[in-house]
């Protein structure tokens, strides 16, 4: 988006409206099912917070509770200095973008964008101007008379965004807004979304199951699993310093490689090779993890352990080598000109500083590390 679309003065006044959003000990029960467990998040004014997790982890439920579409079983939601825990959604001053966009099929683009102002009784003239401005911000000002069915996926997405920004709410809530777009458009809209949030400076909570979206968009990421917050931190923190096995496995593409085993004689036996460890006790069930980009394929016997090549995929900028060791499949990122034969025995080398040890049982990160031999 061109920056000259939004005047500087407009963004300034908006940014000052941004509100802090506090979620305190928020719980949701559906009968016996505990969907959200003691969720505690402080969203800073103007922050872009991403709720990340696999489907069914309670992230959408959490968002709907913040929106007021779902009743909160216990806990509170505070916007700025106002407790909105039991306030109806229409009095919360929030805007929401739905996964389906929820554009009204019988209303034109202009009527869709102007709907939040229409229901609050903004005079028509003022409304039309606001509609045009909001549409211009998402480059939809030439398609105002169209109906949603006449728009492409990306254009519908923009209309949904325009409908969200027109009211200048104190918070945006977005429920997987990009998941219905194709991969290319998704990348493009991601950039636009991030830019716009930066321009408007509105506190935003964004729900997704796509860790790349989370990494690229977020100021901070909150990773959830089974209704529980696992880790809250900047994308870099979450990526480089995962608190547990789940977070480590969820972030990154291709995901982190894991080797499971029991500690014997201060080391992890991998086939014929032994990886010496420090800070562990014998008999512990542990999982060793390292990222594909922190490892390399070397001659057999030269690495920390040996494995067999399963496939090698050339992706353009690099080669992904998949090796098999016992039942575990590991992926290594190698330079694009790397050549290897299938079913060849190779050695795997990885950086001891950039490897992680977890307790296999509860998944917790261990204060232990791999020893260079």
């Amino acid at each position: 988006m061109n920056t000259d679309m939004t005047s500087a003065s407009e963004t300034d006044t908006l940014a000052s409206d941004a509100k802090r959003l506090s979620i305190r000990k928020m719980n949701k029960h559906y009968g016996e099912f505990h969907a959200v467990k003691d969720l505690d998040i402080e969203v800073e004014p103007g922050e872009f917070l991403v709720l990340l997790g696999p489907s069914g982890c309670g992230k959408s439920t959490a968002l709907r509770m913040i929106a007021g579409l779902e009743e909160i079983t216990s806990g509170e939601v505070i916007m700025g200095d106002r407790d909105v825990t039991h306030v109806l959604p229409k009095y919360r001053d929030i805007a929401m973008v739905f996964q389906s966009y929820a554009l009204y099929p019988h209303k034109t683009v202009a009527e869709n964008i102007g709907f939040p102002l229409k229901v609050t009784g903004v005079p028509e003239e003022q409304r039309n101007k606001a509609v045009f401005d909001a549409a211009a911000q998402v480059q939809m000002e030439t398609l105002l008379e169209r109906f949603p069915r006449e728009l492409s996926g990306g254009q519908r997405q923009r209309v949904a965004l325009a409908r969200a920004i027109i009211r200048r709410p104190s918070a945006f809530l977005m429920d997987e807004p990009l998941s219905n777009l194709d991969a290319k458009l998704r990348g493009f809209m991601r950039a636009e979304l991030k830019h716009m949030q930066h321009e408007l400076g509105v506190t935003t909570i964004y729900v997704t199951h796509d860790q790349i979206e989370a990494m690229t968009l977020a100021h901070r990421v909150a990773i959830m699993k089974d209704g529980e917050l696992q880790q809250l931190g900047t994308p870099a923190e979450v990526y480089t310093n995962p608190v547990n096995l789940f977070v480590a496995g969820f972030m990154g593409s291709p995901p982190m490689n894991f080797l499971e085993g029991n500690v014997s004689e201060s080391g992890l036996q991998v086939g014929n090779d032994k990886i010496p460890l420090d800070g562990v006790e014998d008999g512990m069930a542990i999982t060793l993890g390292f990222r594909p980009e922190d490892a390399s394929v070397v001659e057999a016997g030269q690495g920390r352990f040996d494995a067999m090549v399963y496939t090698a995929e050339m992706t353009g900028d690099l080669t992904l080598v998949t090796v098999k060791h016992g039942s575990s499949i590991l992926t290594i990122k190698m330079p694009k000109d790397f050549m290897v034969d299938y079913n060849q025995n190779v050695g795997i080398q990885f950086d001891s500083e950039l490897s992680y040890l977890f307790s296999t049982g509860d998944g917790a990160r261990l204060k232990a590390n791999v020893v260079d031999s």
Binding site: G68, L69, E70, E71, I72, H86, V87, L88, P89, Y91, R92, D93, L117, T120, V122, A130, I166, R167, R168, P169
Partner: protein, 355 residues
């Protein structure tokens, strides 16, 4: 834009009509909703209650002014039930069996033929010639006129008519082609539903009379099937259109004939649609009165005729017996509804109406 009111109103009206908490209903709204729904339930149920108690009233209880509660206001008796099921059981049973045979057969026929036609219209492209159709109607009108006005024997007219139609369609229709599309055929078939039974019943009556089929099951079955054919075609056309073509195409690639595809793939996939359609057509056949009145005299009489028969003779209306017949008529419909209900996705009728 700060004119967005984000403060909930606090007046009495607001307290009555704003939900007290998220996901709940406002107390005022709740009161109004339940009042209206319960009032309508009473309006629906009271006549049915009255039906039930009338069936166990004696003639004196009915004619002596209203009594409401059995065992309190009056002593219920099963005399009407006994009369219908013990004394006159032959008549009752015959009407009951007739009704069951006729509505099952007519429904089966309508659903089978209708869904075949609907499937064909949904999947095959037809291009009938408008000229041929016009010729057909003209020849038919001329034939009927000849029979009616000049008393020509209908068998002779049939033979000559077919000959003339064949000749004309070869001569004219092969040169002039005004193609119609599937939509036109569909519209033509569905539009038959506009015909009030009274428009066609007299010729149908005469037709069955001339082939000596009045008062037979077959006559009523055929008539009911045709009357309900438009409904079947309309509902099933929409349903077939909503089934993805891939499965059928895959079956065809595997070497299945169209009939096999229809029987093995399409019909099982359409269970929900078929169930809804069957139920609807069944109810309509079961309850039909006017056509049955024309087409049956004694042997083929159905239940609705039996209802009307309770209003005959010098004894006036036998309200108690009539109530029994009406109640007995509801039972199989409820039974069918329960049996078919689990196949019916509520979207079936809706889909057709939307289309």
């Amino acid at each position: 834009m700060s004119n967005v009111s984000n403060v909930p109103p606090r007046g009495l009206f607001a307290r009555l009509f704003e939900p007290p908490r998220i996901g709940a209903m406002a107390p005022g709204a709740k009161f109004i909703v339940y009042t209206l729904l319960l009032a309508w339930s009473a309006f629906v149920l009271f006549p049915i209650y009255w039906l039930l108690i009338t069936s166990v009233k004696s003639a004196a209880d009915v004619n002596g002014g209203p009594v409401y509660i059995p065992f309190v206001d009056f002593i219920p008796s099963l005399h009407a039930w006994r009369e219908l099921f013990v004394v006159d059981y032959a008549d009752t049973l015959r009407a009951y069996v007739n009704s069951i045979i006729i509505s099952l057969a007519a429904t089966a026929l309508a659903v089978l033929i209708g869904s075949m036609a609907a499937y064909a219209l949904a999947r095959i492209r037809y291009q009938p010639n408008l000229i041929t159709i016009l010729l057909f109607v003209l020849v038919m009108a001329a034939a009927l006129f000849a029979i009616g006005s000049y008393g020509v024997d209908w068998r002779l007219v049939l033979v000559v008519g077919v000959g003339i139609f064949y000749f004309l369609s070869k001569a004219v229709a092969s040169r002039v082609h005004v193609p119609l599309a599937n939509g036109d055929i569909l519209f033509w078939m569905i539009s038959q539903r506009i015909l009030a039974p009274i428009v066609v019943v007299v010729p149908i009556y005469m037709m069955f009379q001339s082939v000596r089929m009045l008062d037979t099951h077959l006559a009523i079955i055929l008539t009911y099937a045709v009357v309900n054919l438009p409904i079947v075609i309309w509902l099933m056309y929409d349903f077939f259109n909503s089934i993805p073509k891939d499965l059928e195409e895959s079956a065809q690639l595997d070497g299945a004939t169209m009939i096999m595809t229809f029987r093995e793939i399409v019909l099982p996939l359409s269970r929900a649609g078929l169930a809804a359609t069957t139920l609807l057509v069944m109810i309509l056949c079961w309850n039909e009165y006017l056509l049955a009145l024309f087409l049956s005299t004694a042997k083929a009489q159905t239940m609705p005729i039996l209802v009307a028969a309770m209003n005959a003779g010098e004894r006036g209306i036998l309200w108690w017996s009539m109530s029994v017949v009406i109640i007995v008529m509801i039972i199989p419909v409820v039974f069918m509804a329960i049996v078919l209900q689990r196949y019916i996705s509520k979207g079936v009728l809706l889909g057709a109406v939307k289309g």
